[in-house]
Symmetry: C2
């Protein structure tokens, strides 16, 4: 499987506009990101992968620090593991493996390492391309889809558990978070790292819900509030991401109205997949409902993103951002409205794009979440 991915990767590279001039050259792909290393070697850990187009099936090298050597040997597939000291020694080992006369495509744009490679093979022969693997990774295979489906099912169970565990004026956001993390881990889920938040989940009640990236706090969940629960988790390294907003006790008509606007927006965005070949239309279908409700300025983020080995990866679903819809992409659709210092509403599903439809010019899809979207009052 790993070798097939490598072959496809070079095919994609050779067919890219502007890349054809390199067709006959000795191309190397050098990867640093743990997600990319896992995708092409099955090893998740610290290391560098070097793939040569000339020897794609026989000579992929996975360079790892000594303390990871045996684990890399045991878990990696279709590659040769090379042990090295860490830090500068690791990058020197890499440089030693790059032949003169090569062209290097790298997913890292760190100055130091790129400069070193440039000094060896010449400045113009090093091509930094952070999107190199995404063209491949954004189309999921059956194994990947099944992992994402499992992650989605776990999230649905957690929404169920949350509705039972929240006791108004008693439970805190953190308590709900701890319970959900515990239950998820028992079901085999993990919480992928995201450097910009320190909490594994978003559990945001009352005015905390007005922050799209709220930090879960020790605040009690109170009657009369809305609560946003945004769950991102992985199963066998593959991520699903979904959000529900619940009402606690007696909530205001304004809250109900805004909830309905977000729900209509989100459903409109999902259905839109049937009728378009570009994600920018999906964004517009969500956004226009909210703009028509005179709340466009309160929808302060994009409509969605791809999910897979990373929480946020291509394709992107943004305003005025052309992005082709294709079979077996997995994405989120997650409009939200945020009323500053009062409350927020967000509804999000992970969606699998399935077949291209003969009619309507769009795509079929499967919503990976079955947890209901009618406003639930706890």
């Amino acid at each position: 499987m790993q070798n097939n991915r490598k072959i496809k990767l070079f095919e994609l590279l050779n067919n890219q506009r502007g890349r054809k001039k390199f067709k006959e050259e000795n191309k190397l792909i050098v990867l640093f990101k743990p997600e990319n290393i896992f995708y092409l070697t099955n090893f998740w850990g610290e290391g560098i992968v070097i793939i040569s187009e000339q020897e794609v099936e026989t000579h992929t090298k996975l360079v790892v620090p000594r303390l990871e050597y045996t684990r890399a040997i045991n878990t990696s597939k279709e590659c040769e593991v090379v042990s090295s000291d860490r830090g500068i020694a690791l990058s020197n080992t890499l440089i030693g493996l790059i032949k003169d006369g090569s062209i290097v495509f790298s997913d890292s744009d760190y100055f130091e390492i790129i400069n070193k490679i440039q000094r060896k093979i010449g400045r113009k022969n090093v091509i930094i391309d952070n999107n190199l693997l995404y063209a491949l990774r954004e189309i999921k295979d059956t194994v990947e889809i099944n992992n994402i489906k499992n992650a989605s099912k776990i999230i649905d169970k957690l929404f169920e558990i949350a509705t039972k565990e929240i006791k108004e004026n008693t439970t805190t956001e953190e308590q709900i978070q701890s319970i959900l993390v515990f239950e998820a881990m028992k079901l085999g889920a993990r919480f992928p790292s995201y450097q910009f938040t320190s909490n594994p989940l978003i559990v945001a009640s009352g005015s905390n819900g007005s922050f799209p990236h709220a930090e879960t706090s020790d605040k009690k969940i109170k009657s009369g509030e809305l609560i946003v629960i945004d769950i991102t988790l992985s199963f066998n390294h593959y991520i699903s991401d979904a959000t529900r907003t619940f009402g606690i006790g007696k909530i205001t008509d304004e809250m109900k109205e805004i909830y309905e606007t977000v729900k209509t927006s989100q459903e409109n965005g999902i259905v839109c997949i049937n009728n378009t070949q570009d994600f920018t239309d999906v964004d517009a279908c969500c956004r226009n409902i909210i703009i028509n409700g005179k709340l466009g300025d309160q929808f302060i983020h994009s409509t969605g993103h791809g999910i897979g080995l990373e929480v946020h990866e291509p394709p992107w679903i943004r305003p005025n951002f052309k992005s082709e819809i294709r079979e077996n992409m997995t994405i989120t659709i997650e409009p939200g409205i945020y009323i500053e210092n009062k409350f927020g509403v967000r509804i999000e599903d992970s969606i699998l794009i399935t077949k291209k439809r003969n009619r309507d010019n769009g795509f079929d899809y499967i919503n990976l979440h079955s947890f209901e979207k009618e406003l639930l009052i706890i």
Copy 2:
């Protein structure tokens, strides 16, 4: 507090060898890493910080994406928050805030952003320095120390819980992990992101223990095995890190002997702090015990690292790596021996360096962990 840190930062910068030539210039420090942004603004999230030496107390700018604006306003201290669109727009906002004739010190070495800054103010006026903030961050203040102490206490409680929850031939590694994560979160702990592992903890029994970075699995913990439990967690963003190895049921004499070697090594390393001013001696004190036991080749990693806002940060405790010991540093000491495909032993404490001693030429310290190190058989 944030302004004091900024003033100290420029003092340090101006006193660095080779930096004095910039003394009279308009210096800007531009920071991208979330840990550094938090350290100087109290905001944890996505953003860029720009600090001008000329206006250090009045004009620190924190540029954040629109969806983070209000949260940044509410949590940041001693800075001005600027809202911007994301992606390229964010880096363009940054470029607009950099005045011609400035010298920029950056903690990011991303090619794209560095090239943009270079195009604006000239190649030689951009200085990439990943270590810029570490010189400041490696010396902890009282608030930071108290957070690390609290994190350490939670870890000690988790070791206690682990010894009670492990039932030989019944409990799996993952079950123990779930329980420990749940209990830790209830005590206010969080699990900082570390991109090279997918599990929050290391719970590694039997042959899994022979991998320093083992992934916690669904393997049952069996009689006759050793189990390595390595816990890294944070309290108010500050991290502690400790490891204990336990025996399960009847273990071999070889296991007991190796355990004693690691224990002697670790204790020897800690005591060594009293007698030296350089961490490389601490490494040698640990390593020599293991080398004398003819197991030097099985100690396949460094002796320790600084802890703080990151799990691994300066100072480094490595063989032949000069690194000055100073008051109020917080570090780990964690020798280990790994017998391939059989078992592993690691013992780790987080340690606070306190005062310089008048005698013996070394430092006093506090071991932040009180959980015992005698071999416990569960």
